[in-house]
């Protein structure tokens, strides 16, 4: 599959008017060996032709029988037709959630709620391969990531929060934690099942019921999760899943029967959602965009740092809110590090998400591919130097080469805007103060990375980063016990850990 690409010259593009396919091809080394295809079998997944909404424990058509197609971004083939929820369906789902909250779920003792959540965790583990394959087909992410990261972490989230359901009084000393009621949850397309678990597990543990809207390009794992809820005999209406466009999400946000809104997605939509709850008593948590700095000092373990940088920006095609998209390198080692990085880029395998060798899969949608392409064009036009390794891309599907920009100024769009793609902008610094200044010079504040051998420097830099998650000598690590969320315009509230429970409870005096 990864055929040897021939080297061509000229990686620098003078203007943005050239076609993306000709950018930067070439002065990188192609992989000097071939991989035999190692496709994961699709047999484990049984696709239906049509999927319904999941409301009150049943799969139902949309009120107007409307549907939309969900596409495999690696093949551009339609996988299935999915019900397109209407505003009436949103209302129906909120009512079902309310009924379940007052009649069954809210009244259930914590220790019984816990057992349902443990069941869900177990079923996710048992059906893990099915989820992994389906997730990779619907989202474009490499199977090794869905298999080794998304699905195990999703199961772990349910496992972790299951145990909290009957221990809430220990999480909030001196206070009584009550459920908020009905939660409207809107999740993005980059980690469909994992984001579902981050939303649903703590909400249910605390006694809330939910209406969840998955992203319109990745509805299938949420609908398979609905089947898991049935298999676990979760009471009807505790989890409701509405597939459809953004208006359905906004209908949930502004619905009078909703007590809590949780959103993960772009800062732009986050602002609209915050406006949607203005003047109400609805609780709100937002996990929004990022433009993380990954800071490499001259004493860093370089080979380890290279792996961290690659994982930081090319993991999940860079479609990660906490991606390390700004590399800040200490000037004295910049040349060495960039050379090593370019060598490493040559060995990244881009292609079929279902191939077990694939490192970078398909971009989630045509629209996203266009956005990445446009931003990369702006980088070229604004004068940054573009580098892409020579690698063949599949003929069909939405693919984009791992991309590296050097000579980037802080004012460039590629240094300021969230690209949400496999595009790394390299900047340099001389002193720790300059690194801090540049790292914090953004409206975002989700994550940061620090690479140095010196422990005291790690702690000082970690303290000075205005970011919610700081990875020292590592990057893009996640765990259900570890709170995650942003500073500044990367949002507020935390998901994961004890702090994640706080977003789903009302505290009363004892």
């Amino acid at each position: 599959m990864a055929a040897m690409a021939t080297d061509t010259t000229s990686s620098l593009i003078p203007g943005a008017d050239r076609s993306p396919s000709s950018w930067g091809l070439g002065d990188g080394q192609a992989i000097p060996w071939e991989y035999a295809p190692a496709p994961e079998s699709r047999d484990v997944v049984t696709l239906k032709e049509r999927y319904g909404l999941f409301i009150g424990g049943r799969f139902v058509s949309a009120a107007d029988n409307g549907t939309f197609a969900t596409v495999n971004p690696a093949t551009e083939e339609t996988m299935a037709l999915v019900a397109r929820a209407t505003l009436a369906d949103a209302d129906k789902a909120v009512r079902a959630a309310r009924r379940a909250q007052t009649r069954s779920w809210g009244a259930l003792p914590g220790r019984e709620r816990a057992k349902y959540l443990f069941r869900i965790a177990r079923i996710l583990q048992e059906r893990s391969r099915e989820f992994a394959v389906l997730e990779s087909m619907d989202s474009g992410k490499p199977i090794k990531e869905s298999r080794d990261v998304d699905v195990p972490l999703a199961a772990a989230h349910f496992w972790y929060y299951a145990g909290w359901a009957d221990k809430l009084e220990y999480a909030f000393p001196g206070r009584v934690a009550r459920p908020l009621g009905v939660a409207a949850q809107i999740i993005p397309w980059n980690f469909p099942l994992l984001m579902l678990s981050w939303k649903i597990a703590p909400a249910l543990a605390a006694g809330n019921t939910v209406v969840l809207k998955p992203a319109s390009t990745t509805p299938l794992s949420a609908l398979l999760f609905a089947e898991v809820c049935r298999q676990a005999d979760l009471p009807p209406g505790v989890v409701n899943i509405l597939t459809g466009p953004g208006e359905v999400g906004m209908a949930l946000v502004t619905h009078k029967g909703v007590d809590k809104v949780a959103f993960t997605g772009s800062t732009e939509i986050g602002k609209r959602i915050a406006k949607g709850v203005a003047g109400t008593d609805k609780a709100l948590t937002l996990e929004l965009g990022g433009k993380a700095a990954n800071i490499v000092f001259d004493d860093a373990p370089l080979d380890q740092a290279i792996e961290g940088i690659v994982n930081g920006i090319y993991f999940n095609q860079g479609e990660v809110c906490c991606a390390g998209s700004r590399l800040l390198v200490q000037e004295s080692i910049a040349e060495t590090l960039i050379d090593k990085l370019k060598d490493r880029l040559a060995t990244i395998r881009v292609g079929d998400p279902l191939d077990k060798n694939t490192d970078v899969g398909a971009i989630n949608s045509k629209a996203q591919l266009e956005k990445i392409t446009e931003l990369v064009a702006s980088g070229v036009a604004e004068g940054a130097e573009l580098y892409q390794p020579a690698c063949d891309l599949p003929e069909r599907g939405y693919f984009f080469r791992p991309t590296l920009f050097t000579n980037v100024a802080q004012s460039h769009r590629i240094a300021r805007e969230e690209i949400f793609g496999p595009v790394l902008s390299v900047l340099t610094f001389r002193t720790p103060d300059e690194a801090v200044e540049k790292a914090n010079n953004t409206m975002y504040g989700l994550s940061a990375g620090i690479w140095t051998d010196k422990g005291s420097r790690i702690l000082e830099m970690a303290q000075r980063m205005r970011a919610g998650v700081v990875w020292a000598n590592t990057f893009n690590k996640f765990d259900p016990t570890s709170p995650f969320g942003g500073y500044k315009q990367s949002g507020f509230g935390r998901e994961g850990g004890m702090h994640g429970l706080h977003a789903y409870v009302r505290l009363e005096d004892r």
Binding site: A274, V469, S490
Partner: protein, 296 residues
């Protein structure tokens, strides 16, 4: 026969960056007591005064947040010490502003002092209560610590001019946030008197900035100012609430909102359980999680 002594009256000014300027707008408005007696002219602060106050608060943030927690606790405790020495002055101010009986006014002052003490004590404990060490399923030392959000805009309660004010002001301050405060519009004088205590305490200039004036004019400016990170909207008049929250959404400000079911004028600030809440401290904290590998 000596003529009767003429009283020296106080000029009530703004408190910005540790100094007491008049409003740059040169405007004032008449403050009357609860019985309608004119008490004094207060500054009617302007948009420009808000901006000056935010600049002072931003400048003061790093040093204040950078103090040790114990030191910050002592500095705020000292505010209580200084108020204790001026109990009569505060009681007179509260009595005039709120129309309370002398004994009730003294109770309000005493509880205001005690509230400083309660919140000051949290400075070096909140990280232990709200922070955590997280047992991740991989070889990493993972911990979560609270950090102050930044510059907080506090809209003080309209009715409770001193105790309500202290109860809103102390929670963001104790963890290292700096504050731009809009005082009660109708009862701003105790806030200015409190500013005079802050100015002579060890609270550095700029950590608390006090503005008096019309809320309808000042609060939207506060809510839309891009260098304010969070808002306590407790004292926002109901009719301004939605507008303020829409403006705050524009740059994802954190909000501490009074529940719509709680009438501002009915809240009982003398109720310690209701008014002494770690959640109000937590509202102006950011949780930072750090991953550090274990092993070579």
């Amino acid at each position: 026969m000596a003529s009767p002594r003429v009283e020296v009256r106080k000029t009530y000014k703004l408190y910005i960056g540790g100094a007491f300027p008049r409003t740059e707008s040169g405007r004032s408005y008449l403050i009357s007591g609860a019985d309608g007696t004119p008490l004094a002219n207060a500054c009617r602060a302007s948009r420009k005064d808000v901006r000056d106050a935010v600049r002072a608060a931003r400048k003061a943030f790093d040093p204040w947040a950078g103090k040790t927690a114990m030191n910050r606790g002592q500095v705020l405790y000292r505010v209580a010490e200084l108020m204790e020495g001026r109990r009569e002055q505060f009681a007179a101010a509260v009595e005039a502003a709120e129309g309370l009986k002398p004994a009730a006014a003294r109770t309000v002052v005493d509880r205001s002092i005690d509230r400083w003490v309660w919140y000051a004590g949290w400075a070096d404990k909140i990280a232990q209560v709200l922070g955590s060490s997280n047992p991740v399923a991989a070889p990493y030392f993972n911990f979560t610590i609270p950090e102050p959000t930044g510059v907080v805009g506090v809209v003080a309660p309209e009715t409770s001019s001193l105790l309500g004010l202290v109860s809103r002001l102390a929670p963001p301050l104790v963890t290292g946030n700096t504050v731009v405060l809009v005082a009660s519009e109708r009862r701003p004088l105790p806030a200015v008197t409190l500013a005079e205590v802050l100015a002579t305490s060890d609270v550095p200039g700029g950590v608390v900035n006090v503005l008096t004036g019309y809320k309808a004019e000042l609060v939207p400016v506060l809510a839309s100012h891009a260098d304010i990170d969070a808002l306590d909207t407790w004292g926002v008049p109901d009719e301004l609430r939605t507008e303020v929250e829409l403006l705050a959404a524009e740059d994802i400000k954190r909000l501490l909102r009074r529940p719509t079911t709680v009438a501002e004028s009915r809240f009982d600030w003398l109720d310690d359980v209701a008014s002494e809440r770690p959640e109000w401290i937590a509202a102006f904290l950011e949780m930072k999680t750090v991953w550090h590998p274990i092993g070579g």
